[in-house]
Symmetry: C2
Subunit: 202 residues, 2 copies
């Protein structure tokens, strides 16, 4: 018998679309789809519309490269921030974490990734030229490298640091050391080694 591939039903199409989300497997996709249809049609409406609206209007902030519906995002437009400080992070979520500390008052540049040659992510993919352009605007005097402390994040920081220093900028990196509230017994040796090397006068 010749089998024709049947088109997916409306429900199956939705489950299929949910499955492609990161962290959502087939079972979760089913559960979410039935939940939306049975208990939360309003939420489904909101979800559908907000996603479609977002892909229509979101673009990159001209200054910091984050996603925003404006040409320049709210944080970059804030005159209260110290425009001499520029913090470079990998992802918008990193920026959110830094903002939650209330310990940083400067501006940001979001790379939207990290150098990862094995995955084909070179300087172009992390908007390297835009960062150089942004950092050499004559106002920024210090660049704080806040990429992750993973191998790729460290490599990215090293690479960016070399080039930004050559532009005459002060380049700093977030401090490494023992996490606040931790007991030495349970901290890994690499972190302690780093904390010894970077020990400070009290």
């Amino acid at each position: 018998m010749h089998m024709k591939r049947k088109p997916l039903s409306v429900l199956a199409t939705m489950i299929d679309a949910l499955r492609t989300l990161p962290g959502i497997g087939p079972k979760s996709a089913q559960r979410i789809a039935y939940h939306l249809m049975q208990n939360d049609k309003e939420g489904a409406q909101r979800l559908g519309q907000s996603v479609l609206h977002a892909i229509q209007v979101l673009k990159h902030c001209e200054q910091c490269n984050t996603f925003t519906e404006h040409s320049i995002c709210e944080l970059c437009s804030d005159k209260q921030r110290d425009s001499k400080l520029l913090c470079v992070v990998e992802m918008p979520t990193d920026q959110i974490m830094l903002e939650q500390t209330l310990a940083y008052c400067g501006l940001y540049f979001i790379l939207m990734g990290r150098l990862s040659p094995l995955n084909g992510i070179g300087p172009c993919e992390i908007y390297f030229n835009r960062l150089i352009h942004r950092a050499t605007d004559g106002i920024v005097s210090e660049v704080v490298l806040a990429t992750n402390f993973t191998n790729e994040g460290e490599a990215t920081a090293h690479y960016l640091g070399q080039i930004l220093k050559a532009q005459g900028l002060t380049v700093t990196r977030l401090a490494r050391g023992v996490p606040v509230g931790s007991e030495l017994e349970y901290v890994d040796a690499g972190t302690i080694a780093r904390a010894i090397l970077d020990r400070r006068l009290v």
Copy 2:
């Protein structure tokens, strides 16, 4: 200073809509939103459209009560199925699991829930009248109760069983016992007790 509540940004609106999905917390919602915007605009388009389409066109199958875009779903329209057998399940996902076994050839009725008086879910909420109407169509002769083996599922099965038996129908329940492939040492006592009570002649 008087603080006005700012309207959410487009991105925040999307993250908010994602957060209301079951099993998705604030961090996952952020991650999904940025993933869609950065790497998968096509997937985002598909997700938004399929969800909006689904809430527009999906309705309950007139026979089995599952979600479908037709008046009668594909499975209920299948002439190959044994229309004398009617299997009652709690959710469409349960039906999918039963179908995957390839061991059942009858039709289904989906309650879209289970009796749960404490949560305000009584017979009306599980489409009780529709089930009675469906089961007493003169064709169905056996109703297989396949609600879950939880307290609420068992109570639902007991309640439905009493009333369906009064209609002169043969009512059966899925067998309980030791799971296939399991070692007795690791099976809970309740299951083994049940398996002893329900032991069969070989």
